[in-house]
C-alpha cells in the first residue's frame, strides 16, 4: 500500500461520494479536486458545472480558477453567468452542490464572509459569498469538503453565508428551501452526516489511522459519534495515481 497524505485521503473520500451521471455544481479548490478525481476514476460521466458558465466541463487537469480556459474549451455548453444561476441552478436542476468552507458549524451552516462577531469591524475579512448561498439553497443536496480544526469546525458560525440546517430540527424546511441542504461533510479526519431528526452533524466514519479522540479535539462542539462508526477504506493505488496525475498536469 502506498503512503498518502490526509489531504489526499480527504479528496479521495470526497470523490467517492459522487456517482456517475450526477450533475455537480463545483466550487474551486477542494471540491473541484474531488469532482475531477471522481470523473477520472469511477464516475466518468459525472457532469461538472462551474459558475463561470461552463456546463459539462471535462478538463484534463485541475483548473486553477473557475474561469480557466480549459473549462470553456471542454464544456458541452458555455453560457453567461446570469443563465448559470437563473436557468440551471435556481430551478433545482443540479443534484449536488460541492462546497468548501472557512468555518462550518454543528448544523452545516457555512461562513465565508467574516471571522469575528462584528461584521463592520471583522477580525478577518474573508472573500464573501460567491455562488454558495444559492448553491446551498437550490441543489438537491450539498456536500462540504473542509480541513477540520477547532477554528474551522465551530458550534455556531460567526456569519451565515450559506444556510445549512440553521439551528436544526427542520428549520430548513420551514424556510421553504427546496434542496435537502448539507447531507455530507468530508474532512481530513473523517465523514459527518446530519442526524435525520435534529440535523446536527454526526461523525459517521473516520479515515484510517484517525481516532475519535483526534476528531473530538478538532471539533468546536460536543461531538456526537454514530452508533456504527465506519472506517473509510484507504485510497487505492489507482485513486492516488489519478489524483496525483491531475495535480501534476495542472502545475506543469
Amino acid at each position: 500500500m502506498s503512503t498518502y497524505t490526509a489531504d489526499e485521503m480527504m479528496s479521495v473520500a470526497a470523490a467517492r461520494a459522487l456517482s456517475g451521471g450526477q450533475r455537480c455544481f463545483v466550487g474551486i479548490g477542494l471540491p473541484s479536486t474531488a469532482a475531477n478525481l471522481a470523473r477520472r476514476t469511477h464516475a466518468p460521466d459525472l457532469v461538472l458545472i462551474y459558475e463561470s458558465g461552463a456546463l459539462g466541463s471535462k478538463p484534463d487537469w485541475l483548473p486553477a480558477s473557475i474561469g480557466d480556459g480549459i473549462l470553456a474549451e471542454t464544456a458541452d455548453a458555455v453560457i453567461g453567468v446570469p443563465e448559470v444561476f437563473n436557468y440551471w441552478l435556481q430551478p433545482g436542476r443540479i443534484d449536488v452542490g460541492f462546497l468548501g468552507a472557512a468555518q462550518l458549524d454543528k448544523f452545516g451552516n457555512i461562513n465565508t464572509t467574516v471571522i469575528g462577531d462584528d461584521y463592520a469591524n471583522p477580525k478577518v475579512r474573508l472573500p464573501g459569498a460567491g455562488g454558495a448561498p444559492e448553491i446551498a439553497a437550490n441543489c438537491h443536496e450539498v456536500y462540504v469538503v473542509v480541513r477540520q480544526s477547532k477554528r474551522s469546525f465551530v458550534d455556531q458560525v460567526d456569519f451565515v453565508t450559506s444556510y445549512g440546517h440553521g439551528r436544526g430540527n427542520g428549520e430548513r424546511e420551514r424556510l421553504g428551501l427546496r434542496g435537502a441542504g448539507p447531507t455530507l461533510v468530508i474532512t481530513d479526519l473523517g465523514v459527518f452526516r446530519p442526524d435525520p431528526d435534529t440535523h446536527e452533524l454526526v461523525l459517521t466514519a473516520v479515515h484510517p489511522g484517525v481516532t475519535v479522540e483526534q476528531v473530538r479535539e478538532a471539533t468546536g462542539w460536543e461531538l456526537r459519534v454514530a452508533d456504527e462508526l465506519a472506517t473509510t477504506p484507504t485510497p487505492t493505488s489507482d485513486e492516488l495515481a489519478a489524483l496525483r496525475a491531475l495535480k501534476e498536469a495542472s502545475s506543469s
Binding site: S65, A72, V78, Y163
Partner: protein, 273 residues
C-alpha cells in the same frame, strides 16, 4: 456609435471622480489595463462594482481610488486573500472602504435588471443567510399570483462599465467569446461604456460561441493587446497563474505595494507585470 480611442483618452472621457464604475469579466477577459489607467489618472471616491473583485480591484482599492465596493466574492482566485482589500476593510488603509455585499446570483440579477431597464430583479436567494441583515439592498417580494415570498434586489446601473473583449471592427462592433460572464449585461446596464480589445480588425469573422455587441450600444473602444493580463483572452492568451501567485507577495506589504503603484503611475507597468 462607438468611437475608437486610446485607452487614456477613453478613461479620461468616461470615468469621473465619484462615479459608480463596473469593470467586469468573470475570471476571463478582465479589463486589467483599464484599471491601471484609472490608477494612473488618480481617480478618487469611486464606487467600484464587480462580482469577483480580484487583483485589479485589490490594486484600485490599495491605490486609494475607491470609497465603496459592491461585490459578491473578493479573493485572489486559486491563491487566497486580497491583502489590499482586507487592509482597507480591517484597517481603513489607505482610505476606509464601505462595502455592499451580495451573492453571485444576486449580483448577476442586479446587472440583468439594469440591462433590462427594470428597477429590480427577483430570485430565490439569500434565504436563511445573514446577508439581508447587513445589506439593505435585499428585500422580500410576494408573487402576485401564488402568494409565495421571494427575494428582490435593485438594478445596478453603473455610470461606467468597462470590459475587455477579443475584437472590434473599425465601426466599433465588439465581438467576444468563451466565458462571457456578465459583460454584456454590465455594458447594457451602464450609462457609459468602454470596451478594450485585443485587436481592431476589418471584419468580424463569426466564431462559435461568439457574441456581438453592436457599435451603437458601446461608447468607446480602445485597442489594448494583452489588456486582460494576468487574466486571459481566449484565442489570444493564457491565464498567467504565476502572476496571481506573485501578486500575493506584492500586495501583502504596504511598502512593496506602493512601489508597484509608483511603477504604474510612472507608466512602467503598462500591463500587469
Amino acid at each position: 456609435m462607438a468611437e475608437i480611442a486610446s485607452l487614456s483618452a477613453a478613461v479620461a472621457d468616461l470615468v469621473r471622480d465619484g462615479d459608480v464604475v463596473a469593470l467586469e469579466g468573470f475570471t476571463h477577459l478582465i479589463p486589467v489595463a483599464a484599471g491601471h489607467e484609472i490608477i494612473r489618472q488618480r481617480r478618487r471616491e469611486l464606487t467600484l462594482v464587480r462580482m469577483t473583485p480580484d487583483i485589479v480591484y485589490d490594486q484600485l482599492i490599495g491605490a486609494g481610488c475607491a470609497r465603496k465596493l459592491i461585490f459578491s466574492w473578493g479573493g485572489n482566485p486559486g491563491v487566497g486573500s486580497l491583502h489590499r482589500f482586507r487592509d482597507a476593510v480591517q484597517h481603513g488603509w489607505p482610505v476606509p472602504l464601505e462595502i455592499e455585499e451580495h451573492s453571485h446570483a444576486g449580483m448577476a440579477n442586479r446587472y440583468v435588471a439594469g440591462a433590462s431597464g427594470l428597477p429590480f430583479a427577483v430570485l430565490r436567494g439569500y434565504v436563511g443567510t445573514d446577508l439581508p441583515n447587513v445589506t439593505d439592498t435585499i428585500k422580500p417580494i410576494t408573487c402576485p399570483f401564488t402568494g409565495e415570498t421571494l427575494t428582490a434586489v435593485p438594478a445596478i446601473n453603473p455610470d461606467v462599465a468597462i470590459v475587455h473583449a477579443q475584437r472590434a471592427d473599425r465601426a466599433g462592433n465588439v465581438q467576444m467569446w468563451g466565458l462571457v460572464g456578465v459583460q454584456k449585461e454590465a455594458v447594457l446596464a451602464a450609462r457609459r461604456s468602454l470596451v478594450t480589445v485585443e485587436e481592431v480588425v476589418d471584419e468580424l469573422e463569426p466564431v462559435p460561441g461568439g457574441m456581438v455587441l453592436p457599435s451603437w450600444a458601446v461608447d468607446r473602444v480602445a485597442e489594448v493587446p494583452g489588456g486582460a493580463h494576468p487574466s486571459y483572452a481566449q484565442g489570444y492568451s493564457e491565464r498567467d497563474n504565476a502572476y496571481y501567485a506573485a501578486w500575493d507577495t506584492i500586495s501583502r506589504d504596504r511598502d512593496e505595494f506602493e512601489r508597484w503603484v509608483e511603477r504604474v503611475r510612472s507608466g512602467e507597468v503598462v500591463r500587469a507585470s
